[in-house]
Each structure stands twice: as C-alpha cells, then as structure tokens.
C-alpha cells in the first residue's frame, strides 16, 4: 500500500513541480522512461509471482534506466543513436508486453 502511495506521490510531485530537464539529458529521457516502465511491470509481475524483492527492484530499476540512457548516448557518439534507441525500445517493449501478459494471467486467470 505504502509503495503504491509513493508511486502516486512521485507522479503528483512531478506534475506539480515540473522539474526542468537539462538540454543534454532530454534525448535520453524517453528511453529512460521506457526502461523504468519495464522495471515497474517486472516488479508487479514478481509481486504477483510471490518472488518480489525490493532490493532487486530498486537496483534493476536504477541500472536499467542508466544503462538504457548510456546505450543511447554511446549510439549517439557512434552515429547510430536512433537505430540503437529503436533497438532498446523494441527489446524493452517486448519485455513489457510479456510481463503485462503474465500480470493479466494472474489477475484474470486467463
């Protein structure tokens, strides 16, 4: 319950204060968000599977976000930034989708 409140509180804080994103960070924000969504869906599924672990969640969340942004940054330096971000989005998108499917099976038993 408290974690869910924390999530809602984070969204509310972000919407109220609208923290400015530095210009150099802006290209990596969407990728970071996709990585964060992946971690969140993974956490929900793990919770439903009964194997949730907060340390694993926090570390995987932070690492996913950083690594995704880093991969895109490296791609930008190598001139393949848009292709690499497409790749990252595809991989994370498939993971989000199958995690969401697992959550659906838990929720509806179907």
């Amino acid at each position: 319950m408290i974690p869910a409140i924390a999530l809602v509180l984070g969204v509310a804080l972000g919407l109220v204060f609208q923290p400015g994103v530095p210009l150099w960070l802006q290209p990596y924000l969407p990728i970071a968000v996709v990585a964060a969504l992946d971690a969140l869906f993974g956490a929900v599924r793990a919770q439903l599977d009964g194997i949730f672990d907060d340390k694993v969640f926090v570390i995987s969340f932070v690492a996913n976000v950083l690594v995704a942004a880093l991969v895109v940054f490296l791609g930008d330096q190598l001139g393949v930034g848009s292709q690499l971000s497409t790749g990252v989005v595809v991989v994370l998108g498939i993971r989000i989708f199958s995690n969401a499917a697992a959550i659906r099976r838990h929720a509806f038993h179907a």
């Binding site: 974690p3 984070g10 509310a12 972000g14 923290p19 672990d53 199958s98």
Partner: protein
C-alpha cells in the same frame, strides 16, 4: 527466432528468482522446491524505505517525461509561428522601404528633369535617360500585353505510365511549378518581343534573379506564392502569337494536360508593371556631407 523466444521467456528480471533461491538455500529450510511463496512478508524498515524511494523516483520520472513531452510540442509550434511572424514583419519592412525608394527615385528624377531641361543637350540627355530607365525597369510602365498565369497542380498527380506500377519517384513534386519553369516562360516572353515583364508583382530588371529556396520561388530574392502571375507588356497580337507558338508554351500545354498544372494566357489591353529594384550599392558610399 531464439532471440525473441528468450526475450519473452526471460521477460522477468532473473534477479528476483535468484534472490529467492539464494535465500531459500541460505535458510536451508525450503518447504517447496523453487522457493515460491516462502519468503518473509515483512521487510526491515530500511529496506521498505528503499522501495518507497525507488517508486517515488519512478513516479517522478514518469511525470517529468510526460510533462516534457507535452511542453515540447507547443514549444516547437511557438517557434514556428514566431518565425512566421518574423518573416511577415520583415516582408512588411521591405515593402515600406521599397515604396520609400520609389518615392525618392521619383524625386531624383524630377530634380534631374528640372536640371536638364535648361539646355538643349540636357534635354537630349533627359530623353536618353528616360529611354534607358524604361528598358531597365527604372520606371513603372503600363500598356497592352499578356498575362500568363502558372499554378501548381491541384490534383494528386495522375501519372499515366506509373499509375498501375508504382507511385512516381517524387509524388509531390511532379505537378509543382519550379523556378526553372518561371525562367523558361520569362525567356520565351522576352524572345516573343516583350518590352517589360513582372513576375508576381516584381519587375524584372537586368539584375533580377529568378531562383528557388526550398520549394519557394524567389524573384529578386523575395518569395512568391502560387499562382504565379507573369505580366509582359508588348504589342498584343505579335506577343500573343509568338509566345503561343513557342516551344515553351507548347510544353506547358502538355504539362497542363498531363499533370494538371494551371497554365493560362490572357491578352489584356491595360496592364501595369511596377518599378523594379535598382542596382544595390555594394562598395560605393555617399560622401560625408560637407560642413
């Protein structure tokens, strides 16, 4: 396929399962193999704080990204509209300066006429100056002539050859009037005996360029918008016949039939062409006024 399989099978971070396995083997009291549903439900308070902080950051990230994505679209629209307003303002400025130039020119011409009218050689010179100015666009002119109107194709280009096979290579550009088309028409009009020509209200002088910037046609470095009105003064029937029979006009009739561009020639009794922009001074400067 194995890559996709692996992605869907290992969608969940393997860390969760590993942690459970480790805890189970560490405790050594696994009731169920696989270690499911046997981990302690209560976390130490510090760990719970970690989870709350992580989720807080996650929510913050989501909301920030959403706000960012929402604020960025209007920003680009704002930049665009302010640029458009800038262009409009600059065009207005240029128009005002042009009309000022025309006024000052008229004053200069009047003063010169007064000065030259005093002597006989001066009168001859004044006539020569007037003739030269008419020829190079230094004075507005009116008279009979042709009005040729060019317009981009309005229909989606019906390409008779490629229609059944594949869309043409440049679907949007086939029916578009380019700067070269305007140049061709203007050259054909000069060849047909036009005495003065204006394109889209811009008088052509010996130094006027018809160019393209992106998809806009520039005459004298001022952008035109379609349809393009080309006005040529000259002896009506001769100009009409010669231009109508020119290869350029025939080509444009074909374009009109094939691609649906607008191409009309009208003979009019009273047309006017404005005064053209004078040659710009690049290196010369007026001297400092004498004290």
């Amino acid at each position: 396929m194995s890559l996709l399989d692996e992605l869907t099978v290992n969608a969940l971070d393997p860390g969760y399962q590993q942690t459970v396995d480790r805890r189970v083997s560490g405790a050594g009291t696994a009731d169920q193999p696989g270690g499911r549903r046997d981990h302690p439900r209560r976390y130490p308070r510090r760990r719970r704080g970690l989870l709350v902080a992580g989720l807080l950051v996650a929510g913050l990230l989501l909301a920030t990204a959403a706000a960012q994505a929402r604020s960025r679209a209007p920003a680009s629209a704002q930049v665009r509209s302010s640029l458009a307003a800038d262009v409009a303002a600059r065009t207005r400025d240029t128009d005002a300066l042009q009309s000022q130039v025309a006024q000052l020119r008229a004053q200069v011409a009047a003063a010169r006429a007064r000065g030259l009218a005093a002597t006989r050689s001066g009168t001859a010179m004044a006539e020569q100056v007037a003739a030269l100015e008419e020829a190079n666009g230094g004075t507005p002119l009116r008279g009979p002539g042709l009005r040729v109107t060019l317009a981009d194709a309005t229909l989606p280009t019906p390409d008779p050859l490629a229609a059944t096979k594949r869309p043409s290579a440049l679907p949007g550009d086939a029916g578009r009037i380019a700067d070269r088309d305007v140049q061709d028409v203007v050259n054909a009009l000069w060849a047909a005996g036009a005495e003065a020509i204006s394109v889209g209200g811009q008088r052509l002088t010996p130094q006027t360029a018809i160019r393209a910037a992106g998809q806009a046609i520039l005459v004298d470095f001022r952008p035109l918008s379609p349809p393009y009105d080309v006005i040529a003064l000259g002896e009506q029937s001769q100009l009409g016949n010669r231009f109508g029979d020119s290869p350029t006009a025939r080509r444009f009739r074909t374009y009109a039939a094939t691609y649906g561009i607008g191409f009309t020639i009208r003979s009019e009794r009273a047309l006017t062409v404005p005064v053209g922009a004078g040659p710009p001074l690049r290196a010369a400067r007026p001297p400092a006024p004498a004290p």
